[in-house]
Structures are given as C-alpha cells and as structure tokens.
Amino acid sequence: MIEIDEITRRYDGEDVVDRVSLTIQPRSICVIVGTSGSGKTTLMRMINKLVEPSSGQIRIDGEDIAGIPAYELRRRIGYVIQGHGLFPHRTVGQNVATVPKLLGWEKRRTEERVDELLQLFQLDPAQFRNRLPHELSGGQQQRVGVARALAAKPNILLMDEPFGALDPVIRAKAQEDLLAIQRRFGTTIVLVTHDMEEAIHLGDTIAVMDGGKLLQSAAPAEIIRNPATPFVAELIGTSERPFRLLSLGRVADHLEPGHAEGEAIDAAASLRDAFAELLWSGRSALPVRRDGEIVGQVTLAALSRLAARPQ
C-alpha cells in the first residue's frame, strides 16, 4: 500500500504539487490523469524520490520513505518512462539485467530472469538478448523497457506515459499485455497519462490532477458518473460519457436469456463493442458466444439503460 499524505512540492515559490493525499491499494492500478503541468509526473516521481517533497509524507507499507536511501528505495520500485529510456550502448539483455546487477544477484539467476522476462514479453531470448535497442521496433523497445523495470520483481511499478510514443494499434496491444502482467504478478502500478481513454481502460482507481491539486480520486465508473468538478467532466468529454461508461463493462456480466439472430459476439468483449455492433448491424439484440457456445443474448435496450445518466 502506498499512502501519500498531504504532500507538497514547491519550485520557486510555486506549488507544483499542492497538499495531495492519496492512498493506493496494493495489487491495484492507479492512473494519475491530468494535462501537462498539472503536477501528475512530479507527484509520481516523489514516490521513488526522484523528486524530494517540500512537505508531507509518503509511506510504503507503513514505512516512511524519507528514512530509506534513495538508491535503495528505487531498486525496490520498477520505473518505466516515455520513450523507454533504454541504455543505447547496452544490449537488451544487459538493459534488463540492470537492477538485478545493482542488487548483486548471482550471474546465473540474473540470466535466467532475463530470459524469463523476454519470453514473457514475446521476445525470443536467443534472438533478442544480444541486440542493441536501436535495432528494435518502437513496440519492442517499449516492452524491453517494462521488462527491465520488472527484472528485480518489484512490488510497485511506476510508469510515466509509458505508451505515449506508440502508434494506436501497438499501444492497445501494450495495454493488454500490461493488464495481463499485473493480474499475473499482482504488482501495484502507478501510471501517469494525459489520455483519459487509457486511464479508464487500465485504472482500478483514477486520480485526476490539475494545477497541482488532486481534484478527484475514484473508480472509473464513479468518475464518469459523478465528476467532481467541471474540469473532470471536460477531461472525460461530455459526448463520450455514455460510451466510456459502457467500455467499463463486459458482455458476460449483462447476459440475458433468449435467442438473437445473426453473428455472435464474444462474452469477453466490452459493452461498448457490443453497442457498436448493435448499431452497425441494425439489430436490437446480439447472440453471445462463450467457448464456442451460444450462452444468451445482449440487448440494445439493456445497454441503453446502462449508458444513461445515473438518476
């Protein structure tokens, strides 16, 4: 658990982060959203002491981080930045092995961990271990960046616009990979982005920042239904709200008995995809398939109700 308590960071008399308090539950993903200059990156960088707070306290599992030497703390926390920040003169393998090496792991153990991680990120170790970062595609570089951050099995992963430099198709894939990895290892992730779509897709909690202040921190559905300020509402996008709400739900959770005609939709698909398919095919209900079997239907009427403003 990360507890941020009344934290403030001042530069030249200006509060870049202004008395922010935020608790991040273990094994959850917290996405900090805001425009540039909102203080979101500064807030995140205070968690691994890349920025020292002017006042306030941060506790990790109850321990005040002020008492931990910065380099020790950082070796326990994974860190991923936009544009991956790979060391251009070191091979992929050497890059991933950075923190294990700093921690003095045995050579064998480090090598095994590197190969394990590369495999996890669908990069064949034999093929990629000895390549240099510039020989990789943008998507591959980004995956190596995340693999490097996870090398020493940190409980916490900090990510600063990790997908900012990727094109939309690769970005969607990278987001799915991240969710899968988070589910597998139970890592606590703090992710900074300016993209509300990304925040809604990834976050268990969304923290919206503006002008150094934390405006709202809540589950995505809550943020969409009840934005705390006009700014939060604007960030979500007024005309996007119903679709964003739908994107949070899965077809499987809103199955209705009955039979519908035509092409089926997968139970794991989002309600938003189902809604789009209903509109596009002009049907009022879609059959739902799970493991190749039709298990029920999803209806336009039900989705319309779910997407409506909460009363």
Binding site: N48, L50, A70, Y71, E72, L73, R74, R75, R76, Y79, I81, Q82, G83, H84, G85, L86, F87, P88, H89, R90, T98, V99, L102, L132, P133, H134, G145, R148, A149, L158
Partner: protein, 397 residues
C-alpha cells in the same frame, strides 16, 4: 511497365557515361604526365634539371608506366564499381613509387654520391590525381572500420618493404636520411613522445576537468573561457613563453631538473602541446556528457544507480565517442604542431624541416614533413575507426 522497361536500359548505358570526378582526375593526371617526372641535380644545391617520363625511365619501364596510367585513367573516367577504382588507384600509386625508385637508380651515374634525383612536379601531380581516385573510392565504399585499418596496415607494410628493399636509396630524400639515420630515429622518438605524451597528459587532466564542468555549472564558463584564451596564443609564442617559467622551476625547485624539466628543449614543448590539447578534450567531454539522452539518465536514476554508477555505467560510456573525437582532433593537431618544437630546441621532425628551410634543401624538408604527415594521417584513420566502433548504438548507422 514503362519504369521497369527503362531502368535496365539506363543501367546498360550508365557504364559509358563519364564520371565527373574522373574527368577532373584525368586533367590533373595528364598535366602530371606532361610535366617532368623527376628532377636531376648534379649536387644538393644547384637547381634541378627536369626529366619527363620518357627520359626518366628506361624505355620498357616508361612504356609500362604509361600503360598503367592509361588503364588507371580509364578506371577513373568511366563508371565502374568503386572497388575496381580503388584497386586500380592503389596499383597506379604503387607503380609510381616503385618507378620513382627505379628512375633514381637509372639516372644516378655510377659511383656518383653527389647527384640528386628528386620527384618532380609531374610525379606529385600524378600522386595527387590517383590519391583523389583512391580517396573517392574509399569514401564511396564506406568500408567497415577494421577493413580501413587493414588497408592502412597494408599500405604501411608496402611502404616499409619498398624502403627496406633499398630500391629507393637513390631518391634524394633518402640520401638525406642516409647521412643522418641515427638523428632521424632519435627525432622520431622525440616527436612521438611529444605528440602522444601531451595527448595522454591532456586526457588524464582534461576528462576529469570536463566531468567537473559538467557537474558544476558555475565553473563551466570560467574554465572554457580560460582554455579558449590559451588557444589564441600563437604556438611559437606559447613555446617561447614557457621557457622562462620552466627555467625558473629547474633552477629553484629541488628535483625539477632531475625530472628533465629545463627551460629549453622538450619540457616547454610538451607543456605547450598539453595546454593546446586541453580545450578540445574538456569541451568534448562536456558536450558528450550533455548529449547523453535525458531519458537514459532518468531511467538510471529511477532504477537506483548511485551517482558513481551512473557516471561510469551510463554517462561516460555514452559520451565516450565524443570524447574520443576530441582526442582524435588533438592527436592529429599535436603531431603537426610538434614540428614547431624544433624552434625552441625541443626536437622532433621539425628539426629537419627547419634545417631544410635554412639550407633551402627541400629534400631535407621532406624528410621531416613526410613522416609527420604520414603519422598524422595514420592517427586520423585509426582513431576515426575507433570512434566508429565505440559509438555502437549511440548513433544510428
């Protein structure tokens, strides 16, 4: 498809199109073939008597040279592969040198130790023309660093063989060498010690100084301005100005003269060359460190590297190619500047250059100048190759 139809056609006719640089090379080479190949002098001082190719060499050899030149010109003029141009250029250059030695043997009357045969304007122009051909071919081939070093070693090996075989002994510059061989090698050692020693010293001092400037912004401008100022002092003045303080040190600091410090000679020359080397090394270290991608530094910090680990593991390795470029610049520069050391009794190849100027003996000037140029050139090739191999990953090829 019209494009597909045209391209093989142009590929076929392209061979016949003239190479523009080849035209220039041909003009230079033709002028070279027309001008005297060697100069004959009855003794060291009298003006030269020009001899064209046809008179400079025995008939068959003259015919061979002309044939080789013609083939070389064809390779230059037409758009053949750069590899072919390179090999032809090297063949012509090799022939020129072998035949220069042959010509000297041919023209020197038996048992005449006064006659001098030196390369004429024609020889130099032919050398220039085909050196251009080789340079162009090498630039187009973009060879890998180690291939370039291999070619350099091959050329140096061929030169050593040619000089060692004695076939060159009648060429005037080698006659100057013959009378002062021990002095030549001792000046060569001094020259190398001056050039390499000053660069080594400057690296040992300059790289930490550059790191210091990088870490502490306030000292940056002051250090760089001071070093800039040093650069504006003309080399001969700096050499001269160091005489007095070093003489004072030798006289007043115990043990200084035992270390070889004295007012004239090698010490002021070494110090002057060292002073000139500092700016490029310090500023390149600084520029290299400033050019390290901020994302890599941020990542290094975020992963918990200490300042030392970051410097040694990330910043210096990434800045290294730029630092090495600085070292390359000063090494090449100092190999040339070390010739000036002779003016203050510091020794080096400059001794022969200045003696030669004093005696208007160009052969003697060449005895000092040619090794200096060869040394500087070889240093440039080797260090360029090193810069390229060390910059793996830091710059896209």
């Amino acid at each position: 498809m019209s494009i597909a139809g045209i391209s093989p056609l142009t590929a076929r006719t392209g061979w016949f199109k003239l190479d523009k640089l080849g035209v220039l090379i041909s003009l230079v080479a033709l002028a070279g073939a027309w001008l005297p190949f060697v100069l004959f002098r009855a003794n060291r001082i009298v003006p030269g008597d020009p001899r064209p190719v046809t008179e400079a060499l025995p008939g068959p050899w003259a015919a061979l040279l002309i044939t080789v030149l013609l083939v070389g010109l064809l390779a230059a003029l037409f758009r053949v592969a750069p590899g072919v141009k390179l090999i032809m250029g090297l063949v012509v250059l090799g022939s020129l040198f072998v035949l220069l030695g042959l010509s000297a043997n041919f023209l020197t009357p038996d048992s005449d130790s006064f006659a001098r045969i030196s390369p004429g304007a024609g020889f130099w122009l032919l050398l220039l023309a085909f050196a251009l051909l080789v340079t162009d071919a090498l630039a187009r081939l973009r060879l890998r660093p180690w291939v370039r070093i291999a070619i350099l070693l091959g050329v140096v090996g061929a030169m050593v063989l040619l000089l060692g075989s004695g076939s060159f002994n009648q060429v005037s510059t080698l006659k100057e060498y013959a009378t002062r061989a021990p002095a030549f090698w001792s000046e060569a050692r001094t020259h190398l010690a001056l050039a390499f020693g000053s660069v080594a010293l400057a690296s040992v001092v300059g790289i930490p100084l550059g790191i210091w400037c990088f870490r502490i912004k306030r000292v940056r401008a002051a250090v760089l301005n001071l070093l800039n100022m040093v650069q504006t002092i003309p080399s001969i003045a700096l050499f001269g100005l160091l005489i007095a303080p070093l003489a004072w040190m030798a006289a007043n600091i115990p043990g200084a003269s035992a270390l070889g410090i004295s007012g004239i000679g090698t010490a002021p020359a070494l110090v002057a060359l060292f002073a000139y080397s500092l700016l490029p090394i310090v500023s390149n270290t600084l520029v290299g460190l400033l050019g390290v991608p901020p994302a890599a530094v941020d990542a290094a910090m975020g992963m918990g590297m200490t300042g030392r680990q970051r410097l040694l593991g990330v910043e210096l390795p990434l800045a290294f190619p730029v630092i090495l470029t600085g070292i390359r610049i000063v090494l090449v520069q100092n190999i040339g500047l070390a010739t000036i050391a002779a003016l203050i009794g510091g020794g080096g190849f400059g001794v022969f250059v200045f003696q030669g100027i004093g005696q208007t003996a160009m052969d003697l000037v060449l005895l000092g100048a040619v090794p200096t140029v060869v040394l500087a050139f070889a240093a440039a090739v080797v260090l360029d190759a090193l810069v390229e191999t060390t910059s793996r990953g830091t710059r896209k090829p």
